[in-house]
Every structure is written in structure tokens, then in C-alpha cells.
Amino acid sequence: MTEITMVEAIRQAMDEELARDDRVFIIGEDVGVRGGVFRATQGLFEKYGEERVIDSPLAELTIVGVGVGAALYGKRPICEIQFADFIYPAFNQIVSEASKMYYRSNGQWTVPMVIRAPYGGGIGGGLYHSQSVEAFFTHIPGLKVVIPSNPYDAKGLLKSAVRDPNPVMFFEPKKGYRLIKGEVPENEEYTVPIGPAKITREGQDISLFTYGMMHHYALQAAEMVAEDGIDVEVVDLRTLYPVDRETILKSVQKTSKALIVHEDNLTGGYGAEVAATIAEWGFMNLDAPVRRLAGPDVPAVPFSHPMQEWFMINAEKIANAVRELAAF
């Protein structure tokens, strides 16, 4: 095992998939010579050539629309959207086309593609380099939505996403690209299946459901409240759609208290779905209201540091929410 960063894990996954399957190619803005603005594709252009690591025009709908067409032809495109905030021009292609192709053709046509996009704030990116966009896509049957929280999962899940016969939205916590490090097996092929959530910290008192960057802070918060004698179970959802209801409900059965944490704003956010799942099927196990800690309902993350920090959720805010819920 070697310790690597998130972005290195993502790069390794693409490298290995490009090597494994010559149908796989990467298309996106600055992914070629530049190696991606976050360096996620660094060295791949040199290794696989401009035929397979393609600098697209500066047009997100082109990236996804051409990706859909290539997937229909039998290719396995990995489409990179430079920032999740810029995905909206491609929304029509994702929602009207990629997600519905298999259903609307009664199984004749599949769209095996991955759409990767760095998401999330806390990096001084302001309104348009900080957004969390997962809730738009977890509403869409036909898509799979994956958000890894650590290098091991990022690599294994991305490899599964490339091999999946369906369109997969793969959102990467950009703040964690270099901040989050973790062990990944060296010279050993592995994948992480799309679907199952993972209990990353066993606990008895409160179930904390989260994903992506917030998972990193959730583990820190769990350690902070452990000093107060609160034993938190942290569940990394990993795949948001289709969601692993079983793991969610089993955890609530054990702890009887549920806190959902995400960076995206509260209303209509992914936490609402988890809360509804627990209310609908886990109600009899609860001994406190389901709580959500989410970004505030303002349009996006502001630029100026104090305002950004006001918006962002951190370990301390999570710890406070845990303490409140524990005291209920």
C-alpha cells in the first residue's frame, strides 16, 4: 500500500482504464497537453496520444453530447467538466439524452459513459467554482451518481464507473484533491462497486450520513465528540443514486438517531431524500427527529473568505450538530 492523494488516485484509475480498454477515451477542456486544470489527466496525453485524450472546444454541451454519440457507437468516454458549476450547458444532454436513452429505446441503445466533475467550495472559488450539483442528478432515473470521499474509493469507484454500461455522474471533492490522502494498493487491480454505502466509523449513539468532502470533516467531528462520550457511526454513502437504503436503515436501527451532512444547500438537497427514507422505513427506530446539517439556502458560495467560511460546513459545525442531537 502507498499513500496517495485523491487526484492521484483519480489519475491512476483513468490511466489503468485507458490501458485496459482501448474503447476508453477522455474528452474535456484542457485535459490534453495541459493535463487538466487540476492535473487529473497529467501525463495521459503523452502516454495515450491526442486520439484518446482529447482537448475539446470550450463547450460543455459538446463534451457530453459528443460523448453520448461516441458511447452509442461503442466507445467508453470519460467526459471531464472542468468545474461542476459549468455543467448546466450539458444538462439537456445528460437529462434528456444520456439518462433516457436505454429506457426510451427499450434497451436497444446504451450510453456507457462517465461524466467527471470537481465540485464543492472552501477553495476561494466564489459562486461559480464552488457549487455542489448532485441534487439535480440524483432526481434522474437512468443516471448513477457517485461521490467518493477518499483515494481508495475514488480509484475503485471510477474504474467501476468506466466499466458500467450506464451513464455515471462522478463528482470529485476538489478541496480534497490534494488535502485528502489515503492508502491505495500498489500493483494490485481492484474496483469498488457502485451502489453500497460504507460504514467508515462504527458507533452506537448517532448515525451520521454524509459523502465527499463532508465525510472528511465528519470523521474529524466524530473524534471531537468522542471526547464528550458521544459515539458516532459515520456512513459514507459513496453512491447517491441508486441509494443503499439497507445500510442507512440498519444503521438507524442501531443508533436511533440520524444526522445528515452535506455541503449543498438544504432545501431540496440530497439530505431530504435520506431523511425521507428514514422517516418512511425507519420511523419506529427513531428516538429523535432526523436532523440535516447543510449549506445555507443562498444562491452559491461567496468569494470573500469570511463569507465563504460562513457558508462552509466544517468539523466544528458538524460536532455542534452532533452534540445537539445527542442531547435530544
Binding site: P57, V64, L72, Y73, P89, Y103, R104, R163, N166
Partner: protein, 327 residues
């Protein structure tokens, strides 16, 4: 380019059959037997001319919803079309999930398309990109109405194909109206083909009521594409002789005189007269084709009527394709 007499007659037959089938759909709608029809009447000459310029089973077609004649040319049967009108389980485009005329025919490389216009255009470029990556000599023909060329999706698709010199032919079926909005409110250029010059590819105009002229123009573009010399935009100009769809009333936005004027240039009549004048078909042969078309359409309706509807709960699937082995 030379087409044999037999081939020309075959093409005329596809036009004629498609027209009679299309007209029957209107009748079925007015009888209350189907919920919806969107028509290609007036566009058959261009559609058949274009589709005969590609190689069936090898090349790719990414169509739009008025391309009934093109689909008949690609091998979709009249029965299959009527099944889609009726929402019958065995209709081949979508198992009756989509509205009629939202085509797809996997075995013929006809790609499924949707209703938000111009979404199909980037797919054509993506397929062309795949062809180029594999070094194949296949070609993609994709169609669109002139109104839909207002969409950014169309420009982006054409731009990408031009950058990478992809084997794609973008055929614009200019029927002069986008529902109620005439061409001059869609574009400042005279022809959608003029848009090509701003994107760096060939732009060709052709009379869309002349089947063999369209064939020649598309054939040339296909051959250029097949040689790896890049894409073309072709605008075939015609006139939509019917309302936009069975739910539209075109009297609210165009005069009867205008429609009547264009009916005199109905491509079906133009092509019939041309074949007879050139001695390729006799009036008697034409009458026989009409009888045959009526019979084929009657049988298609009868057989489609007898085929089963899907069960309601068939709508639950298929949402996700089968998992592949992740090892």
C-alpha cells in the same frame, strides 16, 4: 451520378408509400383511433433522396421526427410505424415508450432521438468521432429542421465535426416553418447552408422537392466524408404541406392561398410527372403502385390493430443496462 431506372422507381415507391401511410395516420387521428401524429408530408423527396445516398446497414442515420419516408427507406415496415402510432408493444423504436415518429432502429444503425430539438446533432458528431477513431469508412447522416438550427446544440455539433473533419452529413430539411414561426424569424441568412461558412465546412443548397438532385448532393457529401475529407451542411428546401402536428391548426399563421400554391409543387406530384415525362414510368404503372400502396397500408393497419398493447407495468423497465463484470 447515375441511378438505374429500377432504383429510381424503387425510390419513388418509397415516397409514395410513405405519403399514403402518412395520410392514413391523419385519418386515424381524425377518427379518434390514435392520439398523435407528426407529419412529413412535403418532405419525402428530400428524405428518400438522402437516405438512398448512404449505405444501409453500414452507415448511420441520426434522424428527426419528420423522417417517416427516410425510415421506410431504411427498412422500417408500415406495420411497425402503425404500431408506433397505436402505442403497441412490439413497435421497434421504443416498445411504445416514445410518442410516434421518435424513431430508432438498432439493426439498421438508426439512432434513437428525442423531442427537445437538436439534441441529436452532437450524437451524430460523436458517432462520427468514433468512426474516425476506429479508422472505419462509415458515414453518419443526420437531419434536422431549419428552425432547430437556431439551437446552440446544432452549432456545437457542426463546429466539432468541422474541427475534427468528421464523416458527418448535416442535412437541414428546410420546410420553412418551425410550428408557426417562418424562416426569416429563425435566421438572418437566406439558407441554413450559409451557416456552414462561419463554421469552416462545406455548405450546399439543394431543391428539396427534387429527389434525384438531393440524392446527388448528399451522395457527393457522403463520398467526401467517406474519404475522410470532412463534413458538410446541406440545406434541402421544401414546404411543410400539413400543420405542424395533429394538434396544430396552421390556419392561424399562414394563408390557404400560400399552402395551395405549394401544393402545386408537391414533391410527390413533381417526381411522378418527372418519371412519366422521362419515360421511366407509365401512368398505368403509377396507378398500380397506388393500388399497391393502398393495399400495403390497409394491411399494415389491420395487422397493427391486432398486435397487443404493452402491459402497464412493462413501463417499469428497462431503466439500467445490465451490470457488466467488474473484475
Amino acid at each position: 451520378m447515375s441511378l438505374s431506372t429500377e432504383k429510381k422507381k424503387e425510390m419513388f415507391w418509397v415516397m409514395l408509400l410513405s405519403r399514403r401511410l402518412d395520410e392514413r395516420a391523419w385519418v386515424l387521428h381524425r377518427q379518434g383511433k390514435i392520439a398523435f401524429h407528426i407529419s412529413g408530408i412535403g418532405q419525402e423527396a428530400a428524405q428518400v433522396g438522402a437516405v438512398y445516398a448512404i449505405e444501409k446497414g453500414k452507415d448511420w442515420l441520426v434522424p428527426y421526427y419528420r423522417d417517416l419516408a427516410m425510415m421506410i427507406g431504411m427498412g422500417m415496415t408500415p406495420k411497425e410505424f402503425v404500431m408506433s402510432l397505436l402505442g403497441k408493444a412490439q413497435e421497434p423504436t421504443s416498445g411504445a415508450r416514445q410518442m410516434p415518429s421518435h424513431f430508432s432502429l438498432r439493426h439498421a444503425n438508426v439512432v434513437s432521438h428525442s423531442a427537445p430539438v437538436a439534441t441529436q446533432s452532437p450524437h451524430a458528431s460523436g458517432i462520427g468521432f468514433g468512426i474516425k477513431m476506429d479508422g472505419k469508412d462509415e458515414v453518419v447522416l443526420t437531419t434536422i429542421g431549419e428552425g432547430s438550427t437556431s439551437q446552440g446544440e446544432w452549432y456545437e455539433a457542426v463546429n466539432f465535426a468541422a474541427i475534427h473533419e468528421l464523416p458527418v452529413v448535416f442535412l437541414v430539411e428546410n420546410n420553412q416553418y418551425a410550428i408557426s414561426v417562418p424562416q426569416e424569424k429563425q435566421m438572418a441568412v437566406k439558407s441554413a447552408a450559409d451557416k456552414a461558412c462561419g463554421l469552416g465546412l462545406r455548405g450546399i443548397e439543394v431543391d428539396g422537392t427534387q429527389m434525384f438532385e438531393v440524392y446527388d448532393a448528399v451522395k457527393e457529401a457522403v463520398e467526401i466524408a467517406r474519404k475522410g475529407e470532412g463534413p458538410s451542411v446541406i440545406e434541402a428546401k421544401m414546404y411543410r404541406l400539413t400543420p405542424h402536428s395533429s394538434d396544430d391548426d396552421d390556419r392561424s399563421y399562414r394563408t390557404r392561398e400560400e399552402v395551395e400554391k405549394h401544393k402545386k409543387q408537391d414533391p410527390l406530384i413533381v417526381m411522378k410527372d418527372q418519371l412519366i415525362e422521362q419515360g421511366l414510368m407509365t401512368e398505368e404503372e403509377y396507378q398500380k403502385l397506388e393500388e399497391k400502396a393502398k393495399k400495403v397500408v390497409d394491411e399494415a393497419v389491420e395487422q397493427a390493430n391486432q398486435s397487443p398493447y404493452p402491459k402497464g407495468d412493462e413501463a417499469a423497465a428497462p431503466v439500467y443496462a445490465q451490470e457488466v463484470n467488474h473484475d
